[in-house]
Symmetry: C2
Subunit: 198 residues, 2 copies
DNA sequence: AAGTTATTGAACAACCTGTCTGAAACTGAG
DNA sequence: CTCAGTTTCAGACAGGTTGTTCAATAACTT
């Protein structure tokens, strides 16, 4: 009824093989045959499921994104008013579990398309949110909402990338969120010990 | 004495062709023949100058980076103490002049390698600077300097990318710098009209 | 157990790569 | 202007990758 067990397996092992190999050699260096070999699957099987490398990668990242959205939903609902840091925390937890894939995506593998799409979508949504809040509070924002959204999303992505790329035991997710919150509230000068300059 | 006029021409037109084509079709979709055709140069000539596509791209971006460093030097010297925004402003001006190339690099074309290398180099240098400042002022920073550097660099890159991707007459560079300065000093909540929450 | 569906290995043309020719065109120094 | 030294050029080459197709085999679902 659902889906043939074989197709599930094929798609799964192919995705896993892709992730492994991208981490080892980088996306562009890979051959479809490299992937099928690692997955222990015939090359013809690959083309039965995906148009090409890019397609496979797109599917894998789409799955990841869907999973993230699901996990983010309750956290976002909680922080509808103001910034609680809950969504960021949840994203960090998700990244810790799916570290390999996050690394790949955040490195901009595959032409950076998956990453850019994600970033642009986040930025658009955030900008919209900022505009709505400003209007609700009847404030003329000092900062272009579009720019503010880019700053906000850009810094989160940058920190996320840095965090998942760390090999040595890294800062706990809760600490990262605390620092981001701190920065959002007080700005950078204060954070780096330069109150005197402000 | 210097360099053969022909080699200069070949390298120049090949670089220009690459930029044009990447903007039109994306880096990975390109063929060496596509490039030589657009540049009106024989395919063999390409290989007389570059190992492959990646090599050409690396050369083009290296030139851009060298140009940027040169222009940034005086601005950086001026703002050795504190954050004046001068380097950012100079970078924005440079980006306005070399908009096509900036777009390509910031999109993460070519495996995102040129971009990631630039970002990582900036982040390392910035983190070092933050650490040095903290030590000089004998302050225990509330925020991990490494994380702070990622935030700082990440937001600039994000804004830069957004800025060069704009089609419609965009925010003037001076305004962008003012807003970034504002954010660095006061944080985001205040900037978006949420003082009440802080 | 039977019918359906997926996998397999092989073969295929089309394309791209990177290298190598020898001939022709160009350049810069004298 | 001449001439030796480079660079460009068109074409050919083997090697590898791509995406498609096919019939035989294996695995799955009901």
């Amino acid at each position: 009824m659902a889906e043939d067990r074989r197709t599930r397996r094929s798609r799964r092992v192919l995705g896993a093989a892709l992730v492994e190999l991208v981490l080892e050699r980088g996306f562009t260096a890979l051959t479809v045959e490299d992937i099928t070999e690692r997955a222990d699957v015939a090359r013809a099987t690959f083309y039965a499921h995906f148009r090409d490398k890019e397609d496979l990668f797109a599917c894998v990242t789409a799955d990841l994104l869907a999973e993230l959205s699901e996990r983010l939903a309750p956290a976002v609902a909680d922080s509808a008013i103001g910034f609680t840091g809950k969504p960021v925390l949840e994203m960090l937890r998700h990244a810790r579990e799916e570290r390999d894939l996050y690394r790949i995506v955040l490195r901009g593998e595959g032409d950076g398309k998956p990453l850019q799409m994600f970033v642009d979508a986040c930025a658009r949504a955030t900008a919209e949110e900022f505009r709505a809040r400003a209007e609700r509070n009847a404030v003329q924002p000092r900062i272009d909402p579009e720019l503010l959204a880019r700053v906000w999303v850009g810094e989160q992505i940058a920190v996320l990338r840095w965090w998942v790329e760390q090999d040595t035991p890294t800062l706990p997710a809760e600490e990262v969120v605390r620092m981001l919150l701190d920065l959002a509230l007080h700005g950078r000068y204060w954070a780096s010990g330069f109150e005197s300059l402000a």
